[in-house]
Symmetry: C2
Subunit: 322 residues, 2 copies
Amino acid sequence: MSHYVGVDIGGTNIVCGLLDNELNLIDKVKKPTGAANGVDYVLGSIASMIDELLERQRLVRTDLGAVGMGNPGFVDPIRGVSLNSANLKWVDVPVSEKLGALLGLPVFIDNDVRMYTYGEAVRGAGRGYDHVMGVTLGTGIAAAMVNKGELYYGSGFLAGELGHVPLDGESALCGCGMRGCLETIASATGIARIARERLERGEASILGEWFPDGRRDGLTAADVSRAYDAGDKLAKDVLRFVGASLAKGLAWAISLWSPDIVIVGGGAANAGERLLAPTREALAPLLLPMYRERVVITTAKMNDDAGVIGSAAFAKARAANG
Amino acid sequence: MSHYVGVDIGGTNIVCGLLDNELNLIDKVKKPTGAANGVDYVLGSIASMIDELLERQRLVRTDLGAVGMGNPGFVDPIRGVSLNSANLKWVDVPVSEKLGALLGLPVFIDNDVRMYTYGEAVRGAGRGYDHVMGVTLGTGIAAAMVNKGELYYGSGFLAGELGHVPLDGESALCGCGMRGCLETIASATGIARIARERLERGEASILGEWFPDGRRDGLTAADVSRAYDAGDKLAKDVLRFVGASLAKGLAWAISLWSPDIVIVGGGAANAGERLLAPTREALAPLLLPMYRERVVITTAKMNDDAGVIGSAAFAKARAANG
């Protein structure tokens, strides 16, 4: 019972990490998810990845205290059920029960954004803060809140959908069916879309040279950061606009949740200060001084590993509470 | 230890209520606050009001398990300190300690919006719901959240400032110093201000007859409801606009907090369905279906007594937890 496993499962890949009792990540393996092969295939694959880690570290299953897992989509963490995952095409899958039976170990699951936030709270940028808010900017945007080591859930475990409130004056169609949601702007997808649309309107940018007509679909948020570093005005404008939009959502989240720190992670967080500096600038006039003077806005400390470490830490805490 | 006292203190009046062990309100007294006379005067006045209640009910102080109190402004409920109350002109007043010493009883305090929400959660419109959000529309607007009987606090006990995020396109100066805050619109003050401004612009309304030039300052939110009932178009437009603005704030609060029910109280909640119907209508397209189908928006059940009952219930719960 001296080690823990954290699993971060996405639509593309599964990462399994092995952690010691102090929650240091000592080894990890990565494999394609293969969700099309069905739930049992995926869970079997996770079990064999865990066995591979154990073998490499000369451990056995009984050395593990528990397994934690961060799932994309909606999760009931109490019953351990994946309620609905668009990425995995899972509906009402009793993951904790099924994977637990395969491994003979307690398995605890939660939503991936919560596990990332939990990881950053206990082992990352949130260490030393009692009230930690996490935001992930990837294909979409979502948020979670950890207060003194406890995740905030709300009714139906549905709290934290920062991405799906429409902003005034915005109209891009969102994946959820609404228009102008924060997610259509403040996400990796949103950054790329806005840059492409400005190129289409004929605005000058080095991105137009890198991605001429017909090849624009390949443009990503990372390219916008590259252009920014090359001094490109359009790239700077895009990140300033995205930061200002993100600030609108954060102003509500900070006023309602009152975090000490907001940790921005996910793919688009690689933009770092290029995005966070204009976000802070736009945020300041939207916050009461008591929040403005208190809250820290920063990037994740262990971006890729936060989900794995958070899942393992969550499993350890849940196992300890019986 | 069979009874509890709840105290609701505002800038104008103090209400003290006596509750039995099942938290039924059995008697109450009301007096002017007299905050200008200082903290000791006010706390002494509360102690004498409590003694008056006890005498009337033929009880003695040792029959009381605890005293709870809802204070306007910022409160540290753990230490029992009123951190800053603009209405009472209190800064860092150790209320629990001082009033506790006067009475020889445990005293627990919290912010008045939290006590109102707690009261509605445990004894009012929120009974039977696990995740209860309260909103008060009075001079200002504020919110609180109770999850399975536990208040949500955040860093510095500052969570729930729904009123001080600026809305796009709004510019009225707010009491906080910012412009266009939700509070400048969705509050009793906001309703009256918007109606007055429309009259100034020469819009036709029965309110213009009731409040001719020079007497417009007397116009209140209650008058807007009266005009609405008389079929007045301006009054209807004002409440529709206020409802739509309130909906913008509620969309963020519901997406971040995920309540089962939102209970709207405070003076302006007397507008009832005149305000809530347009609020619901504007809210629906701003929410993901999973929230829209789940959340109930309603008015407070025990408006004037919620603070007193909530304070007593809070004190009972805190006393039971040691």
